[in-house]
Structures are given as structure tokens and as C-alpha cells.
């Protein structure tokens, strides 16, 4: 067990999924309060054609350049969703579903062309669909850690601004903050997190890394600051633990295990959470029931006298 953990590459991969989980947990909170949980799913699918096109252009697997391609096509997807929702009577969820499936389809089209061309099959482009953290080399890890670090920095430095932007946009406008540029910044941070994550956990499961930690954290605190912190910690823990479990066996995929660990944390929060967890709510309900019964009893007694 320790030998696999101490294997140098595993340490690197573990570090990167942990930092990724940390960043995704933080940005997931922002998405949660913007009520755009599934946007991350749409954007991660929309990133696929960009990855393949970038590969066509540079003809080698360089994570940084592939990430730039992915970000470009995810941003295009975000723009299309916005545009279709604003300019027609199509609702946002339909626009998201269309964008994600059509972009993904185009990605698959391009991918099968790339796989046919010489060397394409060895490029490991398929790992972008299902995620393969174990296949990451040291330079990939460094790229990921640096980008995730920038994301974390932006979230925590601009904490006050994020809070205003999410909860009281009118006031934010009043004190001279530009809501539009906050919107742009939010989209860029979201897209960056998604595109660095898809290499590790894959296009399909990336959404879980943003959604689940935020919802789990909601069960433990009412304060936005604590929620962001907790959600980041949950994300980081799930990333590290999931990677560790998948490294104990051969051929175990990383992404799905990370998702399962976060789902387990969510189930625990749902049951035992301090705020609105099922058990707490049940106890509160029982206490209230008993109190009202007692009040009823007192009132009845008072009435008869």
C-alpha cells in the first residue's frame, strides 16, 4: 500500500487531483449560488472539439495548448447558450442540452478523424473523455497545479466581490462594481477549472467535482465564507482519496472513484448535516411536535377551568 503511494508519479497525480478538487469545490460554490450547477456539465462536454482541433494544429500532446483549445471551445459553448437563451424562446436548460450534445458530437467526429491519422491513436486524446489521471506526466501536473492555483487565488482574493456579485448585484452596481466584468471573470474561472479537470477525471464526470462538494458543504454551514472553505476542503479530500483508492488496484479509473468518494461525503452530509440534515430535521420535528402537544394540553386545561 505505502509502496504505491510512495511511487513518485502517484504522489504527483495525487497532488494535482487534490488541488484540482480544491479549486473545483470553491468555484462550485459560486456556480451553486448562481444556480448554474449543470452549466459545468455543458461546458465540459463543449470543450471536447477544442481539444481535438488544438491537437490537429500542434500535432503533439502539450497539455497547456490543449487546455487553451478546450477553453476556447467551452467559451464558445457558453456564449452560444447565452445567445440562444436571450434571442429565442428556447429555455436555458434546452440550450445547454443542445450545446453539450452537438459540441460533443462534433468532438467525436473530429476525434475519429484524428484517431485515423498517423499517431493520433497514441496521443491519448481518448483519455480526455473518460479521464486518466495516472497517465499524466510531470509537466502536465505542473500546468494543472499552476492554473488551479491561479483559480484558487482569484476566488479567495476577490471573496468580498464574489459575495456582492452573487447575493446583491444591484448594490454591487451601486458602489461602482462592473457586474458585466464579474460575469466574464466568473465564466473564465469556471472554464479554466473545467478544462484542467477533464484531463484527470474526464469530460463526463467533471460536473460532479463542481456540484457535489458545494451541495454537501451547504448542509454544514449558513455562512458563505465557511461554505466556500468547506466545499474546497471536501473537493480536495475527495480528489486525494479517490486517486489513492484507484491507485491501489491496476486499471482502476480515477475519475469515477473521485466521484464516488464525493457522493459518499454528500450522503453523510445529507443524513447528519448540522443545517437541515435529515436526522436534525427529524429531531426538530419531533421536539416541535412534543412542544405543541404540551401547549395543546396546557391550553385544554386552561380552557376547562
Amino acid at each position: 500500500m505505502w509502496s504505491t503511494l510512495l511511487h513518485s508519479n502517484t504522489i504527483w497525480v495525487l497532488l494535482s487531483t487534490m488541488i484540482l478538487g480544491f479549486a473545483a469545490g470553491g468555484i462550485g460554490c459560486l456556480a451553486y449560488w448562481k444556480r448554474q450547477n449543470l452549466m459545468s456539465d455543458a461546458l465540459s462536454h463543449a470543450a471536447l472539439p477544442g481539444v481535438v482541433v488544438a491537437f490537429f494544429i500542434i500535432q503533439e500532446k502539450n497539455l497547456l495548448l490543449l487546455v487553451i483549445g478546450a477553453a476556447a471551445s467551452a467559451l464558445l459553448g457558453a456564449f452560444l447558450i447565452q445567445w440562444i437563451t436571450n434571442a429565442s424562446r428556447i429555455t436555458e436548460d434546452t440550450a445547454m442540452g443542445m450545446t453539450l450534445s452537438v459540441f460533443y458530437g462534433v468532438g467525436i467526429m473530429l476525434l475519429s478523424i484524428a484517431n485515423r491519422s498517423a499517431g493520433g491513436n497514441q496521443s491519448g486524446l481518448n483519455s480526455f473523455i473518460y479521464g486518466q489521471a495516472a497517465a499524466m506526466v510531470r509537466s502536465d501536473v505542473i500546468t494543472m497545479v499552476v492554473l488551479a492555483g491561479i483559480v484558487i487565488l482569484i476566488i479567495f482574493i476577490g471573496f468580498k466581490e464574489w459575495k456582492l456579485y452573487l447575493f446583491d448585484a444591484a448594490f454591487a452596481k451601486g458602489i461602482g462594481m462592473s457586474v458585466r466584468s464579474m460575469n466574464v471573470l466568473y465564466t473564465i474561472v469556471l472554464v479554466t477549472t473545467i478544462v484542467i479537470g477533464i484531463q484527470a477525471v474526464g469530460v463526463i464526470l467533471m460536473a460532479a467535482m463542481l456540484i457535489i462538494p458545494a451541495v454537501s458543504a451547504r448542509y454544514w454551514t449558513h455562512s458563505f465564507r465557511n461554505m466556500i472553505l468547506l466545499s474546497s476542503l471536501v473537493g480536495g479530500a475527495a480528489g486525494a482519496l479517490g486517486t489513492w483508492i484507484s491507485s491501489t488496484g491496476s486499471g482502476l479509473p480515477t475519475g469515477p472513484f473521485i466521484v464516488l468518494v464525493s457522493a459518499a461525503i454528500f450522503a453523510i452530509s445529507l443524513l447528519f448535516g448540522k443545517e437541515k440534515g435529515i436526522i436534525i430535521r427529524f429531531i426538530q420535528f419531533k421536539v416541535q411536535q412534543r412542544d405543541s402537544e404540551r401547549n395543546q394540553f396546557v391550553m385544554d386545561k386552561g380552557g376547562s377551568q
Binding site: 456539465d41 443542445m98 462534433v106 464526470l205 469515477p256 472513484f257
Partner: protein, 295 residues
């Protein structure tokens, strides 16, 4: 029939049944539910395979349907526990999908069920597994299954046409009229799962979403009548299947990917040119457009 004709026929059947069922997905504002179900159906199919130890149509169909209903049920349950609706969708489908992928990569490990096939579909292999049907002769299995599903879907839509209409447009009215809204919700989710499983072999799990949502959304831009929307959406589905096949042979690439691309092109066409809701009409006749959209 030739090999090519079978493929086009199968793809068109996918387009038709997905297009028809997709109309209600859009009207009920459950487009992302299609995305969720198309992912979790994978888990149902894997478990069906582990239980029956064979790739059989019926077992997979049942597994897929159960997985679809389970998804709808879990999402509903989490939502009733005060989790945001889209968040509960995201949690449920990613978790079930993750379980499916883990099962595939650890215990099943079979060529028939590699994730790649499941997610992208392999329509080119469909004509090779056939069943004998009296009077018609050898028919590819997937095509026969899709035909049955299409008949089933059309039957349920016609039989409960009025109920679908009311529950989709005004659930509160439907409930006050005594229509069992919850029952129709789950019946609808069953139909979506059945269609998804049947289309699975041909276009794969994720691209089913494109076939379900996009033709219906395009049809929504062209008409305000439910009947016309159903007909148009089915037609757009078939059209994208044929165009997709043509693009795929021209570029020598994935057929299902090209079909999804074709649905996108058809949507874009409507988005720009539709007389009532299109961008160009908004630009040419801003008054009429405003009247339609602002009031």
C-alpha cells in the same frame, strides 16, 4: 435490402422516435433529464449484463428502463429534500454513471461492453446481428427493436394525447382536473428510458441527447401547434439522420457524431431563418417580433 439502406433506416428510426418524444421533454422543461437518463442507462445495461451474462435485447431493455426510473425517482427524492433541482440531477447522474464505469472497468471487462462503444455507439455493426421475422425475413436486431419502440411511443402519445398536452402545459390545471400528474411523469420517464436504450446501440449514450433535444427545439422555433411540432420534430430527426450519414461517408468519420452535428445545423437554420422566432425576422420585422415576444 443493402447494408447502407439498413443503416440509414435504423438511423432514421432513431431520429423519428427521439424527435417525437423530445417534443415533450422540451415542453416539460426537462431537457437536462434526458442528459441524466442517457448517462445512467449505462449502469442499467451493465447490471443487466452482469445478471444475465449475455448481451440480450430484453435484459438490457429492462435494465435500462429500471435505471431511468431510478434516476427520475432519486432526483425527485433529493429535490423534495430541498436540494436545488439541477444540483440533484447533477449528483444523481454523475454518481450512477461513475458506478457504471467502475463496474465495467473492474468486473465485466468484455469487448461487447467497452465504455467507448457504449458512449459512442457503433451503427456500422448493426446489420450484422439479425433476427428472423415471419413474412419479412432477416431484420437487424436493433432495427426491429427500434420499430417496436417507435410503435410503443406513438401508441402512448396518441392514447393519452389530451393528458400529455395538459400535464405538459399546465400541470396545476391537470392536477385540479384529477389527472394523475405523478403517474404521467413516471410514464414519460419510462418512455424516455425505453427510447434511449433502443437508440443506445446505434448512436450511443450521449449523442442520444442530441437526437432527443435538438430536433424538438428546432421544431419549437417553427410552430406553435403541438401536433405540427411533433410532426416537424420527427421529420427533423429523420432528416438529420440522413444528412448525418451522408456527412459521415463524405468525411469518413463517426456516423453518430455527424448525426448530432446535423441536428445542430438544422437548429441553426431555424434559429436564423424561422419566420416567427428567427434572428433574421427579428431584424427585418422588429415590430412583429416584439409583439410576439414582449407581450
Amino acid at each position: 435490402m443493402t447494408y447502407t439502406m439498413w443503416i440509414i433506416l435504423t438511423a432514421s428510426l432513431v431520429g423519428l422516435s427521439c424527435g417525437v418524444i423530445g417534443v415533450f421533454l422540451i415542453l416539460r422543461k426537462q431537457a437536462m433529464m434526458a442528459d441524466a437518463i442517457s448517462h445512467t442507462v449505462l449502469l442499467g445495461i451493465v447490471i443487466a449484463y452482469m445478471v444475465t451474462q449475455q448481451v440480450s435485447g430484453t435484459g438490457m431493455l429492462i435494465g435500462g428502463i429500471l435505471a431511468g426510473i431510478l434516476t427520475a425517482f432519486l432526483v425527485q427524492m433529493l429535490h423534495s429534500l430541498k436540494v436545488q433541482h439541477d444540483a440533484s440531477l447533477g449528483i444523481v447522474f454523475t454518481t450512477l454513471f461513475a458506478v457504471g464505469v467502475i463496474l465495467i472497468s473492474t468486473s465485466v471487462g468484455n469487448v461487447h461492453l467497452d465504455v467507448q462503444h457504449a458512449l459512442m455507439g457503433e451503427i456500422t455493426f448493426i446489420p450484422f446481428t439479425t433476427v428472423e421475422i415471419p413474412l419479412i425475413g432477416a431484420v437487424p436486431k436493433a432495427t426491429a427493436l427500434l420499430t417496436v419502440v417507435l410503435i410503443l411511443v406513438i401508441f402512448f402519445i396518441i392514447a393519452f394525447y389530451k393528458e400529455w398536452k395538459i400535464t405538459s402545459f399546465d400541470p396545476a390545471l391537470a392536477a385540479s382536473l384529477g389527472i394523475p400528474v405523478i403517474f404521467f411523469h413516471y410514464l414519460f420517464m419510462t418512455l424516455v428510458s425505453v427510447t434511449t436504450v433502443a437508440s443506445f446501440d446505434a448512436v450511443g449514450a450521449i449523442l442520444v441527447v442530441a437526437m432527443l433535444i435538438t430536433p424538438a427545439a428546432s421544431a419549437y422555433l417553427w410552430t406553435d401547434k403541438l401536433m405540427w411540432m411533433l410532426i416537424l420534430s420527427g421529420g427533423f430527426g429523420v432528416l438529420s439522420a440522413v444528412i448525418g450519414y451522408w456527412i459521415a461517408t463524405w468525411l469518413d468519420t463517426s456516423i453518430s457524431g455527424s448525426m448530432a452535428f446535423a441536428t445542430g445545423c438544422i437548429f441553426l437554420f431555424g434559429f436564423l431563418l424561422s419566420p416567427k422566432h428567427g434572428l433574421i425576422s427579428r431584424w427585418v420585422r422588429p415590430e412583429a417580433w416584439k409583439e410576439e415576444h414582449v407581450s
